[in-house]
């Protein structure tokens, strides 16, 4: 590039001295290297410049772009305000697309939300179902515990009030078969039990021990045909013998036709069998008819024998019996 910048030197002094000179002379005079002859302008010079610019075109474009933006920025900054028009155009151009995208996302999000809720609801349903089942089981357990508590409480009351010694036992099994009339309890010889001891509940007589093992014992229920107990009609005081009749029923034998027996009468133990203490409920008369000599009486047990869970085994004989034994 030729130097057109002003240098305060001999050249300028000569120029200022003022003789009319041509363009070439002026160039010569204004050149910083005054003494050196300036090469005459050749047709190649613009081409070299052009080639240089062309070679660095991209850089010049970058420069122009940067300078242009810097000018723009400086204008904005010095005036301290944005160009609202450009911004308004840009925002207006984008707004419809953004609104559409928003709508799309909302719709997709809504559908997704609904699907997720549905899936969540399904999970919740399963979870609640499982929780309900667990709660129901818990309630059943609690009810069971409450019922057991109630039974044990009445058993304890009965045990406390009974005028004889007893051992509490739990029914742990029954004999197989539909007409099962024996049950197994969890106490045996090691608890001081022996055969022919009465087995009772707060409701009444359940049966008697027929077999005693070290840790368990077998109870013959009063409904078994082989079972028997001295019975007494509570109201008329008529005595008889209660025998098992199978299928959950008993018979009261040897009650005279003349005796006053009616349905619903309570049958108690008479104590004469020397097994069951006197005065315990045996059952209730459900059928009473005259026979040849003796009445035909059917009794339903006082104890729900098919739902036995806890029982008391009477380990001491009634005092009256003990006295009678002593007298004999």
């Amino acid at each position: 590039m030729s130097s057109f910048s002003g240098h305060a030197g001999p050249g300028k002094a000569a120029f200022l001295a003022g003789s009319k000179v041509g363009r070439d002379s002026l160039l010569e005079i204004r050149s910083p290297e005054f003494a050196r002859p300036v090469p005459p302008r050749t047709p190649e010079t613009p081409e070299v410049v052009q080639a240089f610019i062309s070679r660095h075109r991209s850089f010049f474009i970058l420069l122009v772009v940067l300078v242009g933006q810097l000018v723009l920025l400086s204008v904005e900054i010095t005036r301290d305000r944005n160009l609202p028009l450009a911004k308004r155009w840009a925002v207006s151009a984008m707004a419809p697309f953004e609104r559409s995208l928003r709508g799309l996302v909302d719709a997709t999000g809504g559908t997704w939300e609904a699907l997720r809720d549905l899936s969540h609801a399904e999970e919740q349903k399963h979870e609640l179902g499982a929780r309900l089942a667990a709660d129901e089981a818990h309630i059943r357990d609690l009810s069971e515990a409450a019922a057991e508590n109630q039974r044990l409480r009445s058993l304890l009351d009965f045990k406390t009030q009974a005028p004889y010694a007893t051992v509490a036992a739990e029914v742990i099994g029954s004999s197989p078969g539909e007409g099962s009339n024996t049950v197994l309890i969890d106490k045996g010889a090691d608890a001081g039990l022996a055969a022919d001891l009465a087995v009772v509940t707060p409701d009444g007589v359940a049966g008697k021990l027929v077999a005693v093992y070290p840790h368990t014992a077998q109870v013959l229920l009063i409904t078994d045909p082989a079972a028997g107990a001295g019975g007494l009609i509570e109201k008329s005081r008529s005595q008889g013998v209660l025998k098992g009749a199978g299928r959950g029923r008993c018979r009261l034998d040897y009650v005279m036709n003349e005796d006053d027996v009616s349905m619903g009468d309570v049958v108690l133990t008479s104590g004469l069998d020397r097994i069951f203490p006197k005065g315990l409920p045996l059952g209730r008369v459900v059928k009473a008819a005259d026979g040849n000599i003796y009445k035909d009486i059917e009794v339903t047990p006082a104890v729900e024998l098919d739902r036995l869970e806890e029982v008391l085994v009477v380990t001491s004989k009634p005092a009256a019996l003990e006295e009678a034994k002593t007298r004999n």
Partner: protein
């Protein structure tokens, strides 16, 4: 790596419409995504578009102009002065195109490194411009800067793979 003069350079072309549609979509998404996804504030989609096309076209003029246009559009959509993003993106476009001639950027690692470097440069350029022109205090948070570079580079890998499908050898 062979010298640029010895290395064969693949030049690709895409339909101009593809470029402008991509650029426009990048702008729309750039303004919309942060609304629904706060993490998207760290993403600069127009910048990635500038990097991709300037590298692919290997033209410094094109890179400069595309960077300027997209940068000015970003400026117009932001609350700042017009020109900040314009200058930074123009520089990125220019240097991206320059690097595409100098280095082999067809490889995964080359692309990743260049993208990371340009994103970092862009961020520094923005900070510098704001500091110099608007006297805003320079705020260098290394962790934020690293997150910015990593996130944008990771996104670029996916975006570039997608955009590669639209290019054809020139």
């Amino acid at each position: 790596m062979p010298a640029p003069s010895e290395r064969p350079i693949n030049v690709y072309r895409v339909h101009p419409l593809t470029i402008w549609i991509t650029a426009f979509l990048a702008l729309v998404l750039q303004t919309f995504l942060p609304v629904v996804l706060p993490l998207a504030r760290l993403i600069d989609l127009p910048l990635l578009v500038v990097i991709y096309f300037s590298v692919m076209r290997r033209s410094k003029v094109f890179g400069t102009l595309l960077g300027t246009v997209l940068g000015l559009a970003e400026d117009a959509l932001s609350h700042g002065f017009l020109g900040i993003f314009g200058i930074a993106n123009a520089l990125v476009g220019y240097f991206g195109a320059w690097a595409s001639v100098q280095f082999d950027l067809e490889q995964f690692l080359g692309r990743l490194a260049l993208t990371a470097a340009l994103v970092l440069f862009h961020s520094l350029a923005l900070t510098g411009l704001r500091h110099v022109l608007m006297a805003s205090p320079p705020s260098f948070q290394p962790l934020d800067l690293a997150s910015l570079v990593l996130l944008n580079s990771a996104l670029a890998l996916v975006l570039f793979q997608v955009l590669d499908r639209f290019r054809r050898p020139a």
